[in-house]
């Protein structure tokens, strides 16, 4: 019997107005993949990272859909591995030249080679741009790929120069740096024959975010001062002691409030960024709030503290067992002797690596999967009909940029 498939069933009815971005939450599968991947990374001394990064992206991409059509990630782990090997071939001579120049500079003046480290910042920016280009050309929607043009070096020097301005202005220039760099990236981005652009301005970002820049020192000072005054008035502490107490309190307040402010900042940044993206006449909007992200950050902090605690306990246990099995000398001497033995250091290294992998897994679950989910779920696409009959253009590019950045960035355009 023919199953009757009505067009309504296969084509979700386009609502008048914006189309939501749907994220199909398959978190248990993602969690299993990331934990299993961490173990495989341990077994394969890290080589599995190329395949894990690929699997994570595939999962995120195909979980995300617009008007019933999921994104598809077409990159492979093998591509990333070859990209990394090629990057190494490029990097080796650069490293040698850097080393030789460094020696010559140090001969003339102690620590004169430090500025050459800045070159590596430039190099990293180049890699980030090229890595984005790779990820874009591996992204397919409705059988048509995204693609990118533009020179990595053009991006790198812009990025580095603007960073100098950000540092000189204590971060106040950040919105304009982001806007300029996004405009550069987006005008070189395409979906088929639709060209991208970025229309949000630095000033808009500045207006939305300036309160955070002001509030961080504000809260630190206000709370410290209030506590100091309370100390003087209520407990009759001397004013010098109260001042010292306030001074010691300020960094504590900073770290306690950091997740709140960071969540607020990221929410502002995401809303601004998504609202600025254009592909032809297609535009986007995002309504994410700080509270959507804050819980995730606290969960990450909790997990990382737990992992750190367990790691500390494990390392201490190994060291004590090592010291007890050594003979002669005071406990300190035996501890020092033990700390130079392979039989003690190797378990310590394994503990450390295992903890680092677990920490990475936690961050991948909360900061990659969950953050993307929250953002997708609060984002909309306007005027999707403008992307209804797009002609395929552009070709896939190699993964050397990813190799240079060592596939550190899982996600992020």
């Amino acid at each position: 019997v023919d199953q009757v498939v009505t067009p309504e069933q296969t084509f979700p009815v386009t609502p008048a107005g914006p189309a939501p971005i749907i994220f199909q939450n398959q978190r248990p599968q993602f969690r299993r993949m990331v934990l299993r991947g961490a173990l495989l990374e341990l077994i394969t001394i890290g080589f599995y990272r190329f395949w894990l990064a690929t699997n994570i992206r595939r999962h995120i991409w195909h979980s995300t859909s617009v008007e019933g059509d999921a994104l598809e990630y077409t990159g492979t782990g093998k591509e990333l591995l070859f990209g990394a090997l090629l990057a190494l071939a490029i990097f080796l001579p650069v490293y040698v030249v850097y080393f030789l120049i460094g020696i010559e500079a140090e001969r003339m003046q102690a620590f004169a080679s430090v500025p050459f480290g800045l070159f590596f910042y430039l190099f990293a920016q180049f890699a980030i741009f090229r890595a984005r280009r790779y990820r874009m050309t591996r992204t397919v929607w409705r059988g048509v790929r995204f693609w990118m043009t533009g020179s990595g070096w053009d991006y790198a020097w812009r990025s580095a120069l603007l960073m100098v301005l950000v540092i000189l202005t204590l971060g106040l220039f950040l919105p304009w740096r982001e806007a300029i760099l996004e405009r550069f990236k987006m005008r070189h981005s395409h979906y088929g024959d639709l060209q991208g652009r970025f229309e949000a301005t630095g000033w808009e970002f500045f207006k939305k975010g300036i309160w955070i820049w002001l509030a961080i020192p504000g809260v630190m000072i206000a709370v410290s001062v209030v506590v100091a005054i309370l100390a003087v008035v209520v407990w009759g502490t001397g004013s010098t002691d109260a001042g010292r107490m306030a001074g010691a309190l300020a960094p504590v307040i900073f770290w306690l409030s950091a997740p709140f402010f960071y969540a607020a900042f990221k929410a502002v940044q995401w809303r601004w960024w998504v609202s600025g993206i254009r592909f032809g006449d297609v535009s986007f909007a995002c309504t994410i709030r700080a509270k959507d992200l804050m819980g995730l950050y606290w969960k990450v902090i909790g997990w990382l503290l737990l992992i750190l605690l367990l790691l500390g306990a494990a390392l201490a246990a190994v060291a004590v067992v090592g010291a007890l099995s050594a003979n002669g000398g005071t406990f300190e001497q035996r501890l020092m002797f033990a700390s130079q033995q392979w039989s003690v250091l190797l378990p310590m290294i394994v503990c450390y690596v295992f903890a680092a992998l677990m920490a990475t897994a936690v961050m991948r679950i909360y900061l990659v999967h969950d953050v993307v989910e929250r953002i997708a779920e609060t984002s909309f696409v306007y005027n999707l009909t403008a992307a209804e009959d797009v002609t395929a253009r552009g070709a896939a590019v190699n993964a050397v940029g990813e190799g240079l950045a060592d596939s550190l960035e899982i996600f992020g355009f």
Partner: protein
């Protein structure tokens, strides 16, 4: 023959959604408005990622990114039955391949770290011209001068003369082939070290801790041993290439820095233990030729090692005085047969060399 069914087709040329009918003929036929649009051989059809519940297909022999999407579960089963190579490379066997190749890579890395790099350093160091080593040493020297800029030692004329006399005797006895420059650092740290290219530094603290010229002579001869064997250059080659290999291996996936530092210090420790043993032998032989006690240096090091509460002597960090080393020096001890290396006045001048 299986019943045809509905699907969505993207032809890869444009992103237009095309409502098509799937027919199961000699190949997977994609029919639009009664017209055959495309026929995919069953063996060439592959599954690609899609939203849960949606079967998305591609054809490996079709150029471009043409995709076929099937939402109907019954039709999905029919397609799975027809296309035998839907998942041609199961991910599990792929993962196993990665694991096996990684194990091979690990074996080769370990081989390189344990045998390859030390061999490379041993063979390469003598081939590099001394002038290169001196340039390297000059660069390091700048940093030493900077670090100890407040602890300069202005040597007295008498102290300097005593130091040079000691050094000359040691050079003659040891056949040191490398031109050296011996200097005193005005710091209380009890240490001595050799830089690449021939500069040897002795800290004032070490001179003051010593009880007789033989103890100092043994330490200087030990550093001469490092010069003769070009140990700093060798360890530099080892450190550099080990660091590079490890960095390559771990990428930055483990927050690499700490990891690399730990492993590297571990490896260089085992390297330097061999180098220390050789330098000790050099010192012992030199002292024998001078007819003086090789044990004196060991006694000095032992005195330095005696733990000062809450403070680890710096010399221990790079030159751990193992029981084995002390035993070797004690074993090599012979009755004194040569003249005193310095007169009591010269010795006093050396101990107070810094103005």
């Amino acid at each position: 023959m299986a019943q045809p069914g509905e699907a969505i087709y993207f032809d890869g040329q444009s992103n237009r959604k095309r409502q098509v009918e799937i027919r199961f003929g000699g190949a997977l036929e994609i029919v639009e408005n009664g017209q055959l649009a495309e026929a995919w051989p069953y063996g060439d059809v592959r599954r690609v990622d899609s939203a849960p519940g949606v079967l998305r297909l591609m054809c490996v022999t079709t150029p471009g990114l043409a995709r076929l999407e099937i939402r109907d579960a019954a039709l999905q089963q029919v397609i799975e039955a027809h296309c035998r190579a839907l998942d041609v490379a199961p991910t599990r066997s792929q993962t196993l391949k990665v694991v096996v190749y990684s194990a091979a890579a690990l074996a080769s890395f370990v081989g390189l770290l344990v045998y390859g790099i030390p061999l490379l350093a041993d063979r390469l160091a003598p081939l590099l011209p001394l002038s290169f080593e001196r340039r390297l040493g000059d660069a390091v020297d700048r940093n030493v001068q900077f670090i100890f800029r407040d602890r300069r030692c202005e040597p007295t004329a008498a102290g300097n003369a005593a130091l040079q006399r000691l050094a000359d005797q040691l050079r003659q006895a040891s056949d040191l082939a490398i031109p050296f420059e011996l200097r005193v650092l005005g710091t209380r740290v009890e240490n001595a070290f050799a830089l690449p290219g021939g500069k040897v530094y002795v800290a004032h603290g070490l001179l003051q801790k010593a009880k007789n010229p033989d103890e100092v002579a043994g330490v200087i001869a030990h550093e001469f041993g490092h010069l003769q064997h070009r140990d700093v250059l060798r360890s530099l080659i080892k450190d550099g290439s080990t660091g590079f290999l490890l960095g390559l291996l771990f990428g930055d996936v483990f927050g690499g820095g700490a990891m690399i530092a730990v492993t590297r210090s571990l490896l260089t420790n085992s390297y330097s233990r061999d180098a220390e043993r050789d330098a000790d032998r050099f010192s012992v032989e030199t002292m024998h030729r001078l007819g003086r006690s090789p044990k004196a240096m060991g006694e000095l090091l032992q005195r330095i090692e005696e733990p000062i509460a809450g403070q680890i002597p710096t010399i221990l960090l790079s030159h751990p005085l193992t029981k084995e080393r002390l035993a070797t020096m004690t074993q090599a001890d012979r009755p004194v047969s040569g003249p005193e290396l310095l007169s009591p006045t010269e010795w006093a001048a050396l101990q107070n060399i810094c103005r």
